[in-house]
């Protein structure tokens, strides 16, 4: 049995560490057998949990029903509207997520110029800089979807020399960790490009000159980030032309 497939049981009972989980989810995106097995094993595990029923206090009901007033339900995932071709990868093949057709992020992308408030980590670019990248004639878009339903799209404009990332429904980074962005140089070096804001739906311009970048990566790093990646990326956006 393939080493990765063997993680299905541990995944179903949440017994993987953060890195293993990210890798397995990347694998899940590409392995129908594992998706089916995980679904069945999660169903099985949930039956174990059902046996532990215990009434919560009545006050909790009111707290929950009050709480949802402030939360907008996520939109459903919609059918793909365009495809992205697979490209050469410089980074580990096992850790990349599904490179698939765009969906919600594409809609966000189109609407983004109109109403999103871009988050520029450098603070000096201003919203207009992100807008210029998103609207650039030479903008290249690469999207990654995660099995959790989250997606992220990198938009690169070589003429603007900058890259922007848009995320949709990203889970927060694990406790004590951050998502760090990287620009890959043509020689294969990883240059830190900033930390993702702690929001599930973000628009962020990457730090640094992206005009020569061959890829953008996201890794999970300790709080504060790292000067070099300390783990394989949970997502890799190949920009090689």
């Amino acid at each position: 049995m393939n080493e990765v497939h063997a993680l299905s049981g541990a995944y179903a009972v949440d017994a993987l560490d953060d890195i293993e989980r990210a890798r397995f989810e990347a694998h899940l995106a590409e392995c129908r057998d594992c998706r089916n097995e995980v679904a069945e094993l999660q169903e099985t595990a949930s039956v174990l949990g059902l046996a532990a029923a215990s009434e919560p206090p009545a006050s909790l009901r009111a707290a929950v029903l009050d709480g949802i007033e402030e939360i907008r339900p996520l939109p459903p995932r919609v059918a793909p509207t365009f495809g992205a071709s697979r490209r050469r990868r410089a980074w580990s093949a096992t850790s990349r997520g599904l490179l698939a057709a765009a969906s919600i992020a594409a809609v966000l992308l189109l609407a983004g110029v109109a109403f999103l408030r871009p988050f520029d980590s450098t603070g000096d670019g201003g919203p207009s800089a992100s807008d210029r990248v998103l609207a650039a004639a030479d903008a290249v878009r690469v999207q990654q979807n995660f099995p959790s339903g989250a997606s992220a799209t990198v938009v690169l404009s070589r003429s603007e020399g900058r890259a922007v990332i848009l995320t949709d429904a990203m889970d927060p980074a694990p406790e004590g960790k951050v998502y760090e962005l990287w620009l890959q140089t043509p020689s294969g070096d990883m240059v830190p490009a900033g930390l993702m804001p702690d929001r599930s739906d973000a628009v962020m311009m990457l730090n640094g000159d992206a005009s020569q970048a061959t890829a953008v990566g996201i890794t999970v790093e300790p709080d504060g980030g790292s000067p070099q990646p300390t783990s394989d990326p949970i997502a890799l956006f190949s920009l090689a032309s």
Binding site: A6, L7, S8, G9, A10, A12, V13, D14, A15, L16, D17, R35, A39, E40, L41, Q42, E43, T44, A45, S46, V47, L48, G49, L50, A51, A52, A53, S54, E55, P56, P57, A58, L60, R61, A63, V64, L65, G67, I68, I71, R72, P73, L74, P75, P76, R77, G149, A169, P174, E175, G176
Partner: protein
């Protein structure tokens, strides 16, 4: 700190409305669908039909009852937020909700453990099911019997590995260390055990 984390006096201040109990899988799925469209009444019914199960699991994993309440609230917020992402093709509504709940419970104990593991003794096998007098929890004790019978079909190591992972919130590497298994084999025990359990319980599509 009560090592069992189970409070016997978890009195049901509020009975589960009979109409909400025994709801079929399809009805729960329909409530989730309506919740995704922002229907608060449907979500309230969903809460009434499932809160004892979610809360029971939170108590079992997190152990501290007030923390379990916090996590239960987070879980229902997440269910409300992501109801549109439920896919009936991939499993039951209840399993989808329990999966969200379990992930959050495990996240909670793992982040808490960074400072201090909640206790060092293993009492996972001493858990008892609280017998609250609601129909929902009575149903749960039936589930419990069914699960107990199914669990008896596992090897000791499979059963312990699954219990430590699912109820203890331990990673497979930690489970391996706890059970003196070679590194990397606990995940196989967990998988083999779950597959056997799946077949015994009759989960499958």
């Amino acid at each position: 700190m009560n090592p069992n984390g189970e409070v016997a006096g978890g009195a049901p201040e509020q009975g589960v409305p009979p109409a909400a109990v025994g709801q079929s899988a399809d009805e729960l799925a329909e409530l989730l669908n309506r919740s995704a469209r922002g229907d608060r009444e449907a979500f309230a019914s969903l809460y009434d039909a499932t809160s004892a199960r979610i809360f029971g699991l939170m108590v079992r994993v997190v152990r501290d009852r007030s923390q379990a309440e916090e996590v239960t609230q987070e879980v229902f917020m997440e269910i409300w937020r992501s109801a549109s992402r439920f896919d009936p093709e991939r499993g039951s509504a209840l399993a989808w909700m329990m999966t969200i709940g379990h992930r959050k419970a495990v996240d909670r104990v793992r982040s808490a453990e960074a400072s201090a593991r909640r206790d060092t003794s293993f009492t996972y096998q001493n858990h008892t099911i609280t017998h609250d007098e609601t129909v929902e929890t009575a149903m749960a004790t039936l589930e419990a019997r069914r699960v107990r019978v199914a669990m008896e079909q596992l090897t000791d190591v499979q059963r312990e590995a699954i219990e430590l992972a699912y109820f203890g919130g331990y990673s497979h590497s930690e489970v391996a260390a706890l059970l003196d298994l070679p590194v990397g084999t606990a995940k196989t025990r967990i998988r083999d055990g779950l597959i056997r359990l799946r077949d015994a319980i009759g989960v499958g599509r």
